[in-house]
């Protein structure tokens, strides 16, 4: 498959995630959209990884493997972020009984 | 050695004063420090005037190629002398003024003196900028803490205004620094040849700071407010010495460094100066507040100095230097009188005063002398400077409009007579009113300081030769770098 297919698919997914962040007010959904963005990136990385692999396979048998490893690290970080993020959302819910990102609006101007 | 001492003594004195709580001893120490500086300055003029004594050049910041290079040339001598004379005079003249937290007041005064000295002594552009700002900070605090009713707004305007100018100057200085192969050294800058077109805009970067400081119309609006709102002792520093920083800087840091830019814009600046002179004089005529009147008169005078610098000839430059000193002395004298009147009668309004000559003849006579010196009557110091400046402008070789410039500027001589005599008339002449009825003779310290000023006025007015000789070499050197004939 030509790599530009993957690029555009990833960008599309990424932008859908962005639109979700822009249009949704539920903090959890917003967060989920961010996860979607991360997954778009992951897909792109894997595609690039395979692209570089085939380009450099003669010179280096494991060429492109670092792309896939990076995806692994992204998942790690995403998991950590989720734990923290959900904790924050729950904390807020505890205080306000809402997960609307615009519900708390004391800090402005 | 001398140069370093001139900065160091007021600096140490100022810092030490923060620790002295007693008002009386604070005054004493301040005066003592001021006199010590004066003595050092005189020593530098007379005995210890070899280059080794006058200069100090040590590495400051290697990475930036900036040196702690201070030194005294003729112009430096003159302005340092002015600064050194002014502070003791100011201290004596305002001896009876009481300030809350007097020790801090005097401490800041001395710090500003150190800053001013630094400006006049610096031979390294970065150092110059350093002191340029440093002189401002103490004055800002002095005015804002001990000033009049609207002090905060007025001094803040002053501060921001000058700060904007000096930041733009800083950009210009750094630009030249790179042009000069990463050197801040004054001499290197003098030997520099920057392309004409670059000089054209670089000129304004530097000049904007100087123009605001002087101030040149239309950058002057901070000045009347600041003068009006500052405590008079500070106003004396501001108008007597600080505005000279601008004039001084044009001579030392602008004209020889950017001669082409200087000539390109000479006529433009001259026009601003002329407009400013007429403008300020006309406004001064309509002022009812003594402080504002003197402030506008100062704008007019400074305009003339700037005009004379742009004449770019020996007469103009030497006249300017002479006049820097004279104007400094004279305007301090005027402020002393203004201060005396304000503290005694609680008003600065001309319309509320009158008839003081009966109550206080000594003050009247001294003021008349100082005021006449300020309008450049012959045999006073003001005449020598103005004569040479006018002559310089008239015979300026760099502009086609020398005659016109002189004539228009000359109108200010007439207008200055009008407002000065108005002031004298309204304060001293006529019949005394209820307010001035209770007038008493002026206190001794004020009379002493005014007398010193009067003596200076006549000495330099009748026999200006030593001063002219002092600045002669400096002027020649500057003209050499400006590449104009002497």
């Amino acid at each position: 498959m030509p790599v530009n297919y993957y690029i555009f698919v990833s960008i599309a997914l990424f932008c859908i995630g962005v639109v979700g962040v822009l249009t949704r007010r539920n903090a959890i959904i917003v967060f989920m959209c961010i996860e979607l963005m991360l997954n778009a990136v992951n897909l792109l990385l894997v595609a690039f990884s395979k692209m570089h692999h085939i380009m450099n396979i003669v010179r280096d048998g494991t060429a492109g493997i670092d792309g896939q490893l990076f995806v692994f690290f992204i998942m790690v970080v995403a998991a950590a972020e989720v734990s923290v993020g959900l904790a924050i959302i729950v904390m807020m819910y505890r205080n306000t009984h809402s997960v609307d990102i615009n519900f708390l609006n004391r800090l402005k101007h | 050695m001398i140069a370093v001492l001139l900065i160091l003594i007021p600096l140490i004195g100022g810092l030490a004063l923060f620790a002295v709580k007693n008002e009386g001893s604070a005054k004493g120490i301040a005066l003592f420090t001021g006199i010590a500086v004066l003595v050092i300055s005189l020593l530098g003029l007379s005995v210890m005037n070899s280059p080794a004594d006058l200069n100090c050049d040590i590495l400051w910041m290697g990475a930036l190629n900036s040196r702690f290079h201070v030194g005294l040339d003729g112009m430096g001598q003159l302005l340092c002398l002015l600064t050194a004379i002014s502070f003791p005079l100011i201290f004596v003249a305002t001896w009876n003024n009481t300030y809350k937290n007097a020790h801090r007041f005097y401490a800041l005064m001395l710090l500003s003196q150190a800053g001013l000295m630094g400006v006049f002594l610096a031979m390294d552009a970065l150092l110059f900028y350093f002191f340029w700002e440093l002189a401002l900070i103490p004055v800002y605090f002095l005015s804002s803490i001990w000033g009049g009713e609207k002090r905060i707004a007025a001094t803040f305007k002053f501060f921001i205004y000058t700060f904007v100018g000096s930041l733009i100057m800083l950009v210009g200085l750094i630009y030249i620094y790179f042009q000069a192969n990463q050197s801040f050294d004054l001499q290197t800058w003098y030997d520099l040849k920057i392309p004409d077109r670059v000089q054209g805009w670089l000129f304004w970067m530097l000049f904007s700071a100087f123009a605001i400081k002087m101030p040149i119309w239309p950058f002057h609006t901070w000045q009347p407010d600041a003068y009006e709102q500052s405590p008079t002792a500070v106003t004396m520093v501001l108008s007597g010495i600080m505005v000279k920083m601008g004039v001084f800087a044009v001579i030392r840091w602008l004209a020889p460094v950017l001669p082409d830019g200087f000539f390109q814009w000479g006529d433009t600046v001259s026009m601003l100066c002329l407009i400013g002179m007429i403008y300020a004089s006309l406004i001064a005529i309509k002022q009812d507040d003594v402080k504002r009147l003197i402030a506008y008169s100062s704008i007019a005078h400074i305009g003339l100095m700037c005009l004379a610098i742009f004449a770019s000839n020996k007469s103009g430059l030497q006249g300017t230097m002479m006049q820097m000193f004279s104007h400094g002395v004279n305007i301090i004298g005027l402020w002393i009188v203004a201060n005396t009147i304000e503290t005694k009668y609680g008003t600065r309004k001309l319309s509320e005063l009158g008839g003081l000559a009966q109550k206080d003849p000594a003050l009247a006579i001294l003021l008349v002398i100082v005021a006449l010196a300020n309008i450049a009557l012959p045999l006073t110091n003001g005449f020598v400077g103005e004569f040479m400046m006018f002559n310089g402008v008239f015979s300026s070789g760099v502009t086609k409009y020398g005659v016109l410039d002189t004539t228009v500027a000359g109108i200010c001589i007439i207008l200055s007579a009008v407002y000065t005599l108005n002031m004298i008339k309204k304060i001293f002449y006529g019949n005394s009113n209820t307010l001035t009825q209770s007038g008493t003779p002026t206190s001794v310290p004020v009379l002493v300081s005014l007398s010193v000023i009067v003596v200076l006025i006549f000495i330099t007015g009748v026999y200006p030769k030593p001063m002219l000789q002092l600045t002669n070499d400096t002027v020649d050197a500057i003209l050499k770098y400006m590449k104009t004939s002497i």
Binding site: L38, F70, V77 | Y129, F130, I137, V171
Partner: protein, 457 residues
């Protein structure tokens, strides 16, 4: 490497200390001691003394630039803890955890200042960010703190997404995550690389709160407990900048002219928005948030004119800005009223506080004789050296003049206005440290090479 390992270890230690030690003072002192040791170890590494010899496989690079910055950051942290550690106790009960998180952040700082691949950059930034989300929300009952934490987290994750997209595209174009290989791309992949770099630039701009990606900053700085704002606004921000500079070293530096316009746009917007919006603020804390945006605008000049002055300058700027801001925040924490009016007449009540505060504010405004002057000076020099975009520099200095307006409002309140600025109890030690801090600010304002000469050993 000393710093990374030791800070991680000490973080864990602090984590456990909460279980075993019940005396707050001991925990506090343990943390202070930890930072002090950290500082010493880092200085030792600067002088080529390593505790561990680890083959980092070119993932990290320890050069004098990064190490010197680490020293600055640790020294600032030390002063910060000395001044404000007691105030951390007032935020909540999890004292030991807060300290642990601070150590983890320091670990992230050390990574960010020495990364050599984008992976390490990413990890470093995340290690810095995640504890900060927590610290921001640590005042759990306070809705402002909640709000700030949520906003910070959501927008922070969003920017992480952008950063990852950038990294992915860069990887695609170059086939490597190594910083060194970022300058050259596969044939035909130039736009991909550029898009990747731009994404990366945007996300880094977000982290250093440059406009138009600064929106989180005022709200988060304002909502977070003040002690942690002080930490975030200074050390963390400086660290991200240092990471940014390292990035420029290889990635952007090669084709810097191509990036000037974009960076100029960011600088202009940042300076304008930061300075102008700060003018209106009534709360000193929020003003400082905007001020930090404005200062970021100035620090951006290090990237704009990337040369030897920029590298020296960013270190100096980091030190000058952090020291002064820490001082101001330390005093702010002691105030009962965070508005400008709260400072009225402080000079009379607390002359020393007012005086030192003045020095810090002057430093931020960039007045000579304070470190802030040379910081700004270096930035201007770095920018001017390139000789282009002079209008931007003029614009910058005009904005600097605007900054004087809001900094001096505090000075005006302290010195020129009547009132009695109410402060909480202040210990003599606090005053002494403030004085020392002010001394350092002034000393760096006269002899900046005291700091910078270490860059060349």
């Amino acid at each position: 490497m000393n710093a990374i390992i030791f800070s991680a270890i000490w973080g864990v230690l602090m984590m456990f200390s909460g279980i075993f030690i019940k005396t707050k003072a001991v925990i506090r002192n343990l943390a202070i001691a930890g930072v002090a040791i950290l500082l010493l170890l880092n200085m030792a590494e600067l002088n080529h003394f390593l505790l561990f010899h680890i083959n980092v496989r070119d993932m990290l690079a320890f050069d004098s630039f990064g190490l010197l910055f680490n020293s600055v950051a640790f020294a600032c942290t030390l002063i910060y803890l000395l001044l404000s550690a007691r105030d951390i106790e007032e935020v909540g009960v999890n004292l030991a955890e807060y300290f642990a998180l601070i150590f983890f952040v320091l670990c992230g700082v050390s990574i960010a200042s020495s990364f050599n691949t984008l992976l390490m950059l990413f990890l470093g930034i995340e290690i810095i960010s995640i504890p900060l989300y927590i610290l921001t929300g640590s005042d759990k009952r306070n809705l402002k703190s909640n709000e700030a934490s949520l906003k910070y987290f959501l927008m922070g994750s969003f920017s992480t997404g952008i950063m990852l997209m950038g990294i992915a595209l860069i990887y695609g174009a170059t086939g490597s995550f190594a910083v060194a290989s970022m300058a050259k791309q596969i044939d035909g992949f130039a736009p991909v690389l550029m898009a990747g770099l731009l994404f990366l630039l945007i996300s880094m701009s977000f982290k250093v709160s440059a406009a138009p990606f600064h929106f989180w900053t005022p709200d988060v700085y304002d909502g977070a407990p003040t002690v942690f704002t002080a930490f975030m606004a200074t050390i963390v921000k400086a660290a991200v900048f240092v990471a940014f500079v390292r990035l420029f070293d290889a990635a952007y530096g090669a084709s810097l002219p191509e990036w000037r316009l974009t960076i100029a746009f960011i600088i202009g917007a940042t300076l304008f928005i930061g300075n102008v919006t700060a003018v209106f603020q009534q709360s000193v804390k929020r003003m400082l948030a905007y001020s930090s945006i404005a200062q970021a605008g100035f620090m951006f000049f290090a990237l704009f004119g990337y040369n030897e002055y920029a590298k020296e300058g960013i270190i100096l700027y980091a030190a000058a800005y952090s020291l002064a801001t820490i001082g101001i925040f330390a005093i702010l924490i002691k105030m009962k009223d965070y508005t400008f009016d709260g400072y009225n007449g402080l000079a009379k009540e607390q002359p020393l506080l007012a005086a030192t505060n003045t020095i810090f504010l002057l430093s931020l405004a960039g007045i000579p004789l304070t470190a802030g002057f040379f910081a700004k000076y270096y930035m201007l020099t770095a920018a001017i050296k390139n000789g282009a975009y002079l209008w931007l520099i003029i614009f910058a200095v005009l904005c600097a003049a605007i900054s004087v307006y809001y900094y001096f409002r505090v000075i005006q309140a302290m010195y020129f206005k009547e009132g009695n600025g109410q402060v909480k109890e202040i210990s003599p030690a606090f005053k002494i440290i403030l004085l020392v801090l002010a001394g350092i600010v002034v000393l760096l304002g006269i002899f900046p090479q005291l700091l910078l000469s270490h860059l060349y050993f």
